[in-house]
């Protein structure tokens, strides 16, 4: 009994029309990392929101430190030392690090803020985690990874002992992930209990003690992590075995469809040359900040180009703005689906119709609603999106389904080249496979696919050819059949030697 710091028993929660949680349980020990797994929509977030007091449970029991907590609310949760680090970072970007850490519980002396004291304490917390950030920096000026560290620091500054982390690594580079894991292990040894939600199963082995799995709002199992194979984990999550995590179709390499010559756009896109053939998927690998997203944006005409040529099916095309690219037949499914990919307040149908209004409008610009309906219906069917109807807000869907719509809106028109930027970020294994299948279908239909991804297994599993970028330049190209992770990493870290002015052969690989 005593060993658990958190016990949740028989928790059920119903939202209008949906049973989000059905008789779920969860136990957390002191000083352990409990990996919390499940597909999108399995009820993980709901359960965590109940634990942190944001939602109220319908039935069931929450026991913290052996004490039954009847009415959990955010203030109470904080008091009990429960802190949640959200996937979408919750920081005030206009405030400094110290101000964010103390937000909501500022120290004051007779009504006046004690800035100095707060700054000192913030520094202390950051030092404890061995994070090197000046507490006076504006949070908006920090990289995402650092913001996350600040958020952890904030949780610890209130003496949190139960830490919930929701997909903490989805926006981090591998070096930053190592740093995060160092901190997690440190917290573990200090006796914190950590609930760790992630879709990246590969990284669990570095930190996890036990796994708990939910599926469709139901409790499936809790297991010791040691001795558990990844396949077992996946089959627990999905309820069936996924035979092939990276499905692949072979087809004949066809004509050259796209050629980029000497593309330059600012600091992050420097002298890019690449070719894309019909019937192949070209993966663009690299570290975060290698200029991959910038390259796709420059090709698509979102950002201005300084120089360069884009040749589509042998014809040079001029692309100044996305409109030009779409008209020519080059489309982009952007990285951040909520920010760039979807109008979250519009319906699924309107989202799919948006870039295709030229097709479904008549000459006077009036929308032919029948055509729209047909288009949406076909897209929803092709993509196998599960929907009550297509009038629901795009923002209300799960991540996987949102991603399908980002992709699906482009499939309704005849494009020649489709660029995917991190299409599988933050979505679960099953949804990932569906996205891969979609890409394969495009490839089979003779459409050129460019595929940016930070996850190496995925790049190696799906693409036919891999282009590696570093620091805004292409540093290497490999055929998938002969590529290894080490090789990719070697190219991805081929930074220019900027120390000293010996511009010549200074490829010491820093």
């Amino acid at each position: 009994m005593e060993e658990y710091i958190v016990q949740m028993k028989n928790i059920s929660k119903e939202f209008p029309g949906v049973k989000a949680l059905d008789d779920v349980q969860l136990n957390l020990k002191k000083g352990e990392v409990l990996a919390f797994l499940g597909e999108n929509g399995a009820g993980k977030s709901t359960l965590m929101k109940i634990l942190s007091g944001i939602y109220q449970k319908d039935t069931g029991e929450i026991i913290v430190d052996g004490q039954v907590i009847e009415h959990m609310n955010p203030a109470k949760a904080r008091e009990l030392g429960i802190a949640i680090i959200h996937q979408e970072l919750n920081m005030c970007s206009h405030l400094t690090v110290a101000e964010n850490i103390f937000l909501g519980r500022e120290k004051t002396k007779s009504g006046v803020l004690s800035e100095k004291e707060m700054r000192k304490e913030a520094k202390k917390v950051l030092n404890r985690l061995k994070i090197d950030i000046d507490p006076d920096t504006l949070v908006g000026d920090l990289a995402v990874s650092k913001q996350q560290m600040v958020e952890i620091g904030k949780a610890l500054s209130v003496n949190a002992r139960i830490l919930i982390m929701d997909e903490p690594t989805s926006a981090l580079t591998s070096a930053e992930i190592d740093e995060l894991f160092r901190i997690i292990n440190q917290l573990k040894s200090e006796g914190c209990g950590i609930i760790y939600i992630s879709h990246r199963l590969e990284e669990l082995k570095h930190i996890t003690d036990r796994v708990i799995v939910l599926r469709d709002g139901k409790y499936i199992d809790t297991k010791e992590f040691e001795g558990l194979s990844m396949d077992e984990v996946v089959s627990l999550m999905v309820g069936r075995e996924i035979k092939n995590k990276f499905p692949r179709v072979e087809c004949q390499k066809g004509d050259k469809i796209l050629e980029i010559k000497n593309l330059n756009a600012g600091k992050m896109v420097r002298n890019i040359n690449l070719e894309l053939y019909k019937g192949e998927i070209v993966g663009i690998a690299g570290l975060m900040g290698a200029g991959r997203t910038e390259t796709t944006r420059a090709i698509f005409g979102v950002d201005p180009k300084d120089s360069g040529e884009i040749i589509l099916e042998g014809q040079p095309v001029t692309i100044h703005k996305p409109e030009d690219a779409i008209r020519a037949g080059i489309v982009l499914a952007p990285e951040d689906r909520k920010k760039d990919g979807l109008c979250t307040k519009l319906s699924v149908g309107d989202n799919i119709a948006l870039p295709n209004l030229d097709i479904i409008c008549n000459k006077a610009g009036v929308i032919n609603s029948k055509k729209q309906e047909q288009m949406v219906e076909k897209a929803v069917k092709d993509l196998q999106i599960k929907l009550a109807n297509d009038n629901v807000d795009a923002g209300s869907l799960s991540g996987g389904n949102q991603q399908k719509i980002v992709v699906g809106k482009w499939l309704a028109r005849d494009s020649k080249v489709v660029i995917f930027d991190e299409p599988t970020r933050g979505i679960d294994v099953a949804a990932k496979v569906e996205i891969y299948n979609l890409m394969n279908a495009l490839k089979k239909n003779g459409i050129g696919v460019l595929f940016v991804s930070s996850e190496m297994p995925e790049v190696m599993g799906i693409s036919d050819r891999i282009i590696i970028m570093c620091d805004g330049r292409i540093t290497g190209e490999l055929n998938t059949s002969e590529a290894t992770q080490e090789q990719i990493l070697k190219y991805a870290t081929k930074f220019e030697d900027k120390s000293g002015e010996n511009k010549g052969e200074s490829e010491n690989g820093n």
């Binding site: 005030c92 937000l103 909501g104 500022e106 009504g111 756009a265 910038e294 944006r297």
Partner: protein
């Protein structure tokens, strides 16, 4: 020397200082231009008038800045001002003592602020709509209190009242100006040095983050609308004292003047950003333009056009300064 340098750097480090300094330069240039065009611009008499012109704009600017920093807007400022002017004047013409009249007016105005705050936070109405409603209601009240007529002169009983709020001087400075200065000092202190102030910025920056950190969003939102109503109330009283009577349309479109003063001074309409020092400069630019153009003989229409252009240009400058230095939007 060392400490001096440190002091300067510290001032420059204050958020929003950049924009304030830019517009201050603009203000100085304007003053020089008008001074050259018309030497009497810098006469004592005109400076006193100029400052008295700036004071009400500064006051409502403070209120609007508070609201804007939380990421909301208050469109009811002009109407609350009108209410304040009409209610106080009507009561005084009916023989009620100025102090009682002021208290009653105060309560009425604060009620509007309270309503605004709760409509926006508790009922989560869009602030534009909520305050558009109270703006119309407020104007209606201003019209109805005296049966749809402007009031008569507030007369002999109101003499002291007028002296205190309008033509009286303390230490050789008009009381109106002193009131604005005191109000500014108090609210600047609250915004920059207290917990409430910090919460105001936090809500404007990221309301979810603030909520999850235990900040009372409802409480803070109500507070900023109360501040805004209070400032409008004060200006209404000053307007009443200035004219010696209540006019139903007083304060019309002042809410927009308040937005202009705030925005010129670097307060972001998107929330989270801006300091009250900027509002001072914004209000000053506004006042100098009005006064200077009037002196130069420009008709009202021209003044309106010039001020409109200044508002757009100053915000545009801010956008260019902030994002223009790197042509492309940075994207991770």
């Amino acid at each position: 020397m060392e400490t001096n340098k440190k002091g300067i750097r510290k001032i420059l480090a204050i958020r929003g200082m950049g924009q304030v300094l830019t517009v201050t330069v603009g203000l100085i240039i304007l003053c020089i231009v008008f001074g050259v065009l018309n030497p009497t611009f810098f006469s004592n008499k005109n400076l006193g008038n100029l400052l008295r012109q700036i004071a009400p704009i500064l006051l409502i600017g403070i209120g609007q800045s508070y609201v804007l920093i939380t990421g909301n807007i208050d469109l009811s400022i002009g109407s609350v001002l009108g209410m304040s002017c009409m209610i106080s004047a009507t009561l005084m013409t009916k023989g009620i003592s100025p102090i009682a009249a002021i208290l009653i007016t105060f309560v009425a105005c604060m009620a509007v602020g309270f309503l605004n705050g709760h409509l926006v936070s508790t009922c989560s109405l869009p602030p534009f709509i909520a305050t558009l409603g109270t703006m119309t209601i407020g104007r209606g009240i201003a019209q109805i209190v005296n049966g749809n007529y402007n009031t008569d002169s507030i007369g002999a009983a109101g003499k002291k009242f007028r002296e205190f709020f309008y033509y009286g001087k303390t230490f050789g400075i008009y009381n109106t100006i002193l009131i604005a200065i005191i109000v500014w000092i108090v609210f600047n202190f609250i915004l920059s040095r207290t917990r409430t102030g910090r919460h105001i910025y936090a809500i404007g920056s990221n309301v979810d983050a603030a909520k999850l950190s235990g900040v009372s969003v409802v409480g803070t939102t109500v507070k900023v609308y109360l501040v805004s109503a209070f400032c409008s109330f004060l200006v209404g009283i000053i307007t009443c004292a200035t004219a010696g009577m209540g006019t139903m349309d007083s304060g019309t479109s002042y809410e927009m003047y308040a937005v202009a003063a705030s925005v010129i001074g670097g307060v972001s309409t998107l929330g989270g950003q801006g300091i009250l020092l900027g509002t001072v400069v914004g209000a000053a630019i506004w006042g100098v333009l009005q006064n200077g153009l009037q002196f130069a003989g420009a008709p009202v229409a021209i003044r309106n056009i010039v001020i409109g252009v200044i508002v757009v240009v100053s915000v545009l400058l801010d956008v260019i300064v902030r994002t223009g230095s790197f042509k492309r939007k940075k994207k991770a």
